[in-house]
């Protein structure tokens, strides 16, 4: 029975235990399962089930902790702050709390005590070790000899015998020695022994070194016998080389040739042309797109921008043909057709050759010879320089250099092959010396890239036009970006400096137009290498000039037409950058500047008008592809016609600033001489004449006026054709058409006369063009909602929206996060208010109950009183 009782007890325990365990499990009725609309395989969901009851109670508890406290404190101005260490921390055990407080107390104490100890916390060191440690002498410094580590220590037997009272081992024949030697003697003995050991070790080491050296020298002697080393025996090597098999050479040659061929096969003429066409088509398409102002993101297949390297690999730059150098009797052998393709450096150098006897091949030979014979020739020139020159010659082709070295070697062999006799060699030597002398007269082959404008002028200044160009060419080659790091920066700087140089050249009188013309190519190529930097430079110089111009404009009557440098910059922009883009960081400011020139500067002489017309023509160049409308140009051209018309006082011409209807300058273009005889043939206007010293005389002649008229009419014609599609064509050209009829055409040459009649017919023909009324684009009809599934290709589960640009994505993310947080915050606030309301109503109820209780009490009291009173009364009545 008892047993069974016990058993039963055990069962009960079991049951109770299991119950208590399952108590931790949540009641299934309290779990809320969020239904998923669509089950997606492989997706992990965080919020598939929740415990609303638990969450609610948690939130309630938290509110009680925080909000309720605050609520209770709301009318209190004082506050008790518990600053005791670790008081609020539940995680800390009482012991830990005590420890913390103790430590804090100590620290406080310590801090107070050490206020007046000045150098207490500084630790003195010696060789990075604290002196405090060293002073304890725990770790005495060891002897200087680092390699014998055990040296300083006493050996084991000694330690065993002498230390710790010597009881660790039993000493041998202790009775004898011990009595005889005192401790001092013993120590001396030990020292002697250790010294001796040290000496022995040293000698052994020396011996080893000696032996090794001997072995080395022996090996050197023998090694000469063992194998043919070329290193130190030049002659031997030469002999060996001469003995080189023809076959070996052929093999080597083939080896290298194959490599070269594999890298790029020469394209046929057809292929080249096709490639070029494709490239241009691609670029043209790109240009069209930019003209319309479509950004690249909108265009799905964006054409890749041409990098400078790509340009070079293709066709833009004239490339040097590769061929093997081979010599015959000291003369360079060139494959047919190579002459023409030869690098510009050599060609121009030839131009400089004074003697004229030496032809190109000799020149080339001289260079190569110099290179080969660096070691034995007097080497007047710097070795480095030579190498750099060679590198420059290699130009961009890295793989070429290998071939070059090879070819040098082979030429060397050839030399020796042909000239085994000393005589030829001596002749060669003479030739070399002569060439070196001549070379000294020539330009150096390498130049440092200039850092400042002064340096550039120092390098270039004083040379002839051709030499200047040559120098620039060489600077560019020496600092080709593929040669060394930092070269591209140097070239960028060179671009800026050349730009400045160009401006200065234009400011000279007369301007050096020839050099400027040639510089354009260099600027273009430099610009292609580093577009952004170049654009920044160009933009900066345009803006700088604009600010000058703007300042002048602010001051009245000082509005001056820009000089040649400015005009050339305008032109340069159109050469370097695409002018048809919808917006372009360099072109747009330039265009705005140009328009300012046309609207702000009143022309006071024929020269000014010519400058204005140049700007008009530039505008034509800028907009010729995009066909954009430039009001300023039309105004200006009308103004120019106005200036050339003989005006009667009564009529008011609707001219637009900078032209004024009545001013002393309004007749500057009217021909002075009524006879045609004084007019020469109509010529193109020359920029150098315009900006020469005597420009005023040049420009004030009737022939110049005729040229201006010619230019103006041509420009009007061009623009009239360009703007044919504009809806306001008639309105734009109506004033020009009316003033053309007032022009005294008889005074001009027939050529001009014809132009005027042509123009008139062109303009009046266009007049009759019909036009449509404006109509807004129709609103897109709303599409009816489709119930077919919308299929998105490459749908991604993780991202809800389609991929956008990075910033947009980030923004979207932030927005949604903000929205989520906002929602959460609002919900929290709502719950807080609910909680508070509940709290208040609870309090109210409590107060009501209290009040009721009190009222009841009072009534009770009154009742009893009344009762008592009545009882008394009754008693009185009774009595």
């Amino acid at each position: 029975m008892a047993k069974s009782k016990k058993n039963r007890n055990g069962m009960a325990d079991k049951v109770r235990n299991t119950k208590s365990n399952s108590g931790k499990k949540t009641n299934p009725f309290e779990i809320r399962i969020n239904k998923q609309k669509h089950v997606v395989l492989g997706r992990k969901t965080k919020h598939d089930k929740g415990l609303p009851g638990l969450a609610r109670s948690k939130a309630l508890a938290k509110r009680k902790d925080t909000l309720l406290n605050e609520y209770k404190q709301r009318h209190k101005s004082n506050k008790l702050v518990d600053r005791r260490l670790g008081e609020g921390d539940v995680l800390l055990t009482p012991e830990e709390k005590i420890m913390q407080r103790f430590a804090f107390e100590k620290q406080k104490h310590h801090e107070k005590a050490s206020v007046y100890n000045l150098n207490d916390d500084e630790e003195l060191t010696h060789y990075g070790q604290s002196l405090a440690h060293i002073e304890k002498f725990e770790n005495p410094l060891e002897s200087d000899d680092e390699d014998d580590e055990e040296m300083g220590r006493l050996d084991a037997t000694y330690v065993a015998e002498e230390h710790f009272g010597g009881f660790l081992t039993r000493k041998k024949d202790d009775n004898k020695d011990n009595s005889m030697k005192s401790r001092k003697e013993l120590l001396e003995e030990r020292i002697a022994i250790s010294k001796k050991e040290k000496y022995e070790r040293k000698t052994e080491k020396e011996e080893t070194i000696e032996l090794r050296e001997k072995l080395d020298s022996d090996w050197k002697e023998i090694s000469g016998l063992l194998a043919g080393s070329k290193r130190n025996r030049k002659e031997e090597a030469l002999i060996r080389k001469s003995e080189v098999d023809e076959y070996d050479m052929a093999v080597r040659e083939l080896k290298y040739e194959r490599k070269a061929k594999a890298s790029d096969r020469l394209k046929t003429a057809d292929e080249l042309a096709r490639d070029e066409r494709e490239r241009l088509e691609k670029l043209e398409a790109d240009r069209q797109r930019r003209m319309k102002g479509i950004s690249e993101e909108e265009e799905p297949d964006k054409p890749e921008h041409i990098s400078a390297d790509a340009l070079e690999d293709n066709v833009a730059l004239p490339r040097k043909e590769k061929f093997h150098l081979s010599y015959k009797e000291g003369k360079l052998l060139l494959p047919a057709g190579v002459d023409s393709l030869y690098s510009l450096a050599n060609v121009s150098k030839n131009n400089k050759d004074v003697s004229g006897e030496e032809n190109e091949s000799v020149d080339e030979e001289e260079e190569n010879d110099k290179f080969v014979c660096n070691d034995d020739s007097a080497a007047d020139d710097d070795d480095d320089e030579e190498e750099e020159e060679n590198a420059a010659e290699d130009d961009s082709d890295g793989e070429d250099s290998g071939a070059d070295i090879e070819s040098d070697e082979s030429s060397d062999i050839d030399d020796d092959d042909d000239g085994t006799s000393q005589v030829i060699k001596e002749e060669d030597e003479k030739n070399k010396l002569k060439m070196i002398r001549e070379a000294k007269k020539e330009l150096p082959y390498t130049f440092e890239a200039p850092d400042s404008y002064d340096e550039l002028v120092a390098i270039i200044g004083g040379h002839s036009t051709n030499n200047q160009l040559l120098i620039i060419e060489r600077i560019r080659k020496c600092h080709h970006p593929s040669l060394a790091e930092g070269n591209s920066e140097k070239l960028e700087r060179l671009f800026a400096l050349l730009l400045e140089y160009l401006g200065d050249l234009a400011c000279e009188r007369p301007p050096k137009m020839g050099l400027i013309d040639k510089l354009i190519r260099h600027l273009y190529e430099l610009c292609q290498n580093s577009p952004i930097k170049a654009a920044e430079t160009m933009q900066a110089s345009i803006v700088e000039r604009y600010e000058e111009f703007d300042d002048l404009c602010e001051k009245k009557n000082k509005r001056k037409y820009p000089g040649l440098d400015m005009l050339l910059y305008f032109k340069l922009v159109s050469i370097l950058f695409p002018t048809s883009d919808f917006r372009h960081s360099v072109v747009t400011p330039t265009v705005l500047f140009m328009s300012q020139v046309l609207t702000h500067c009143q022309p006071t002489c024929c020269h000014d008008v010519a400058v204005g017309l140049f700007v008009c023509n530039l505008f034509f160049q800028y907009v010729s592809l995009s066909k954009r409308y430039v009001p300023e140009v039309v105004n200006y051209l009308y103004g120019v016609l106005f200036l050339s018309v003989q005006k009667s006082n009564s009529k008011l011409y609707p001219v637009i600033p900078p032209f004024k209807p009545f001013s002393k300058y309004s007749h500057i273009l009217v021909l002075e001489d009524t006879e045609k005889t004084s007019q020469k043939d109509v010529a193109r206007i020359s920029l150098s004449d315009m900006f020469a010293d005597n420009s005023q005389d040049n420009c004030n002649s009737d022939s110049f006026r005729v040229s201006i008229m010619n230019t103006c009419l041509s420009l009007i014609h061009e623009f009239a054709e360009l703007y044919q599609d504009l809806p306001c064509y008639k309105e734009i050209f109506t004033f020009i058409l009316s003033i053309l009829s007032e022009l005294e055409v008889d005074k001009y040459l027939d050529q001009i006369k014809n132009k005027v009649t042509n123009l008139q017919s062109l303009l009046s023909n266009q007049d009759k063009k019909s036009r449509d009324f404006l109509r807004r684009e129709k609103k897109k009809p709303q599409s009816i909602k489709l119930y077919e599934p919308k299929i998105i290709e490459d749908y991604n589960l993780d991202t809800k929206r389609k991929a956008q640009s990075r910033t947009q994505n980030e923004k979207q993310k932030l927005i949604s996060k903000h929205r989520r947080e906002m929602k959460g915050a609002i919900r929290e606030i709502r719950k807080d208010t609910q909680f508070l309301a509940r709290q208040k109503i609870e309090e109210q109820l409590e107060r009501d109950v209290e009040r009721k209780r009190k009222v009841k009490e009072l009534y009770q009291m009154l009742g009893t009183q009344e009762g008592d009173f009545n009882a008394l009364k009754r008693k009185k009545i009774k009595f």
Partner: protein
């Protein structure tokens, strides 16, 4: 005098002390007055300060006796004699101070002016002896001051700037305006006087100040007095608002009748709407002046129109052809001139009403768009939103940009640019081809802006304020500030300055 400056200053101080301490040293005052003519600025200032101290003392202790004529000197006491002598010295002192107001040093000028104004204040509170009415304004003294301030040959604008603080007092302002009117009428009579500009400039300067400080509140009590506030409030003219307005009106009208220099003319026209018309009793009288100004043309016409507009708008003035005149002002040069911002600000203001007839607004729209064909980019950027706003205000004008059911082909624009009457120019039958043309303008912002007319308008109007003062340099700045990410380059290689294949210049120019 050979004495160094310090000793002179010390002397002045000593004499002042002595004068204040006893009657015996009264002659010291004469010496102090002499010091006032010294060449040293420091001495002059010290002397002015000293005389200020002395005279204030004399005035506040009633020691001055003003005898009208020398005849009655026999039957006066010695004290009265002494006091009348003091009064004469006081007059001398005033003379000296008046002279100092045209001193070369501005410090002295200002000090003299302030001292004199202090005298004005003090004298009205303690008038010289026999004269003792209830309320007294020292008009002789004040007239003298005004005479110097409104000098005919010295530009007093700087000193007038100092005077501004006194103009804020109602009484000073009132008497000032009265004196100004008197001065101008007197001056107008003898117009043979050639150099009038300085006087007019001075008068204008003070009037401008007055117009700026005057309060618009008509019910406000006039009690901000420098001098003693009169007790019997109703009797005095100074305290009546209406009198003030009348004086203000007459002062301005007399000035406007003079031959005004151009700059002042413009300034007056600018001041008119905000600072003059609101304070006037009868601004409609300005109509003659404004009409005359309109006929002068250019910027002045426009400014005159602004004044006229206010008269029409707030003062029930009947002015026919107002808009016709405004329409006539829109000529091609208007978009190039300096005062463009003000012009378009006002044009926008004039055309704000939605009750204007559609044909009129259409004419304006059409004309503006025609002008934009020859305008610089910054002006176009202003004109396009303005046009859009006008269409926005007048939904009828949508036909200008959207005419779906009209015949398709017409030979030319029905709008007649030469017609001066907006009613007859057929603007409503036209379309804004000009803006469509501007879609291919070379400046990208203009091109983008021009596309506005093609799209559906936004709910609210465009803000044109940011475009009003737009300068070309700002446009360039904006372009330059944009960061360059990619730099497209020209792909066609040049062979020289005029060398490229697509070069359009080689036919007309050589190197």
């Amino acid at each position: 005098m050979a004495l160094p400056r310090e000793s002179m200053v010390a002397d002045i101080k000593e004499k002042t002390q002595q004068f204040l301490s006893s009657k015996e040293h009264s002659n010291g005052f004469v010496d102090i007055l002499e010091y006032m003519q010294s060449a040293e600025v420091g001495v002059v200032i010290a002397a002015i300060k000293a005389s200020h101290k002395i005279c204030m003392n004399l005035l506040s202790t009633d020691k001055l006796y003003h005898c009208k004529d020398g005849s009655s000197l026999e039957n006066v006491t010695a004290t009265q004699k002494y006091e009348s002598w003091l009064f004469e010295r006081y007059q001398d002192c005033i003379e000296n101070l008046i002279n100092s107001m045209t001193h070369s040093s501005s410090n002295v000028q200002e000090l003299a002016l302030c001292t004199l104004m202090k005298f004005v204040e003090c004298e009205s509170q303690h008038p010289p002896k026999p004269h003792n009415p209830e309320w007294y304004f020292p008009s002789t003294l004040f007239t003298k001051i005004v005479h110097v301030l409104l000098s005919t040959d010295v530009d007093m604008r700087k000193l007038l700037g100092r005077f501004q603080e006194y103009v804020e007092y109602d009484d000073i302002r009132y008497y000032m305006l009265k004196r100004i009117t008197g001065k101008t009428t007197r001056f107008k009579k003898n117009t043979q006087n050639v150099d009038t500009d300085v006087l007019i400039q001075n008068i204008f300067c003070i009037l401008e100040q007055i117009s700026r400080v005057i309060s618009t509140d008509k019910e406000k009590e006039l009690d901000n007095f420098l001098t003693k506030l009169p007790d019997a409030v109703d009797k005095c003219k100074v305290t009546v608002q209406k009198e003030h307005q009348i004086v203000f009106d007459t002062a301005w009208f007399t000035l406007l009748q003079c031959q005004l220099p151009n700059s002042i003319y413009k300034r007056i026209l600018i001041l008119l709407p905000e600072h003059i018309i609101p304070h006037m009793r009868n601004p409609v009288l300005l109509i003659d002046f404004l009409t005359a100004s309109y006929n002068m043309g250019g910027a002045i016409s426009l400014l005159a129109l602004n004044g006229l507009f206010i008269l029409v708008h707030h003062h029930n003035l009947e002015y026919p052809d107002f808009f016709k005149k405004l329409y006539a002002l829109l000529d091609p040069a208007i978009l190039h001139v300096k005062y463009r911002a003000r012009f378009f600000f006002l044009t926008d203001l004039f055309l704000k009403s939605t009750h204007l007839p559609a044909y009129l607004v259409a004419a304006f729209v059409k004309r503006l768009s025609r002008l934009s064909l020859t305008a610089p980019p910054n002006a176009i950027l202003l004109v396009i939103p303005l046009i859009c706003n006008l269409i926005h205000r007048h939904p009828n004008l949508i036909t200008l940009i959207h005419k779906p059911d009209a015949q398709t082909d017409i030979s030319g624009d029905p709008y007649d640019m030469e017609e001066p009457d907006p009613a007859k120019c057929h603007a409503m039958e036209s379309s804004l081809w000009e803006i469509k043309t501007l879609k291919s303008h070379y400046y990208h912002e203009v091109a983008t802006s021009a596309t506005k007319i093609e799209k559906r308008f936004q709910k609210e109007e465009w803000d044109i304020a940011e475009y009003l003062e737009l300068e070309m340099s700002e446009l360039i700045d904006k372009e330059v500030k944009k960061k360059m990410r990619k730099m497209p380059m020209e792909f066609e290689q040049p062979t020289g300055l005029f060398g490229g294949n697509s070069d359009k210049m080689k036919d007309l120019w050589t190197l």
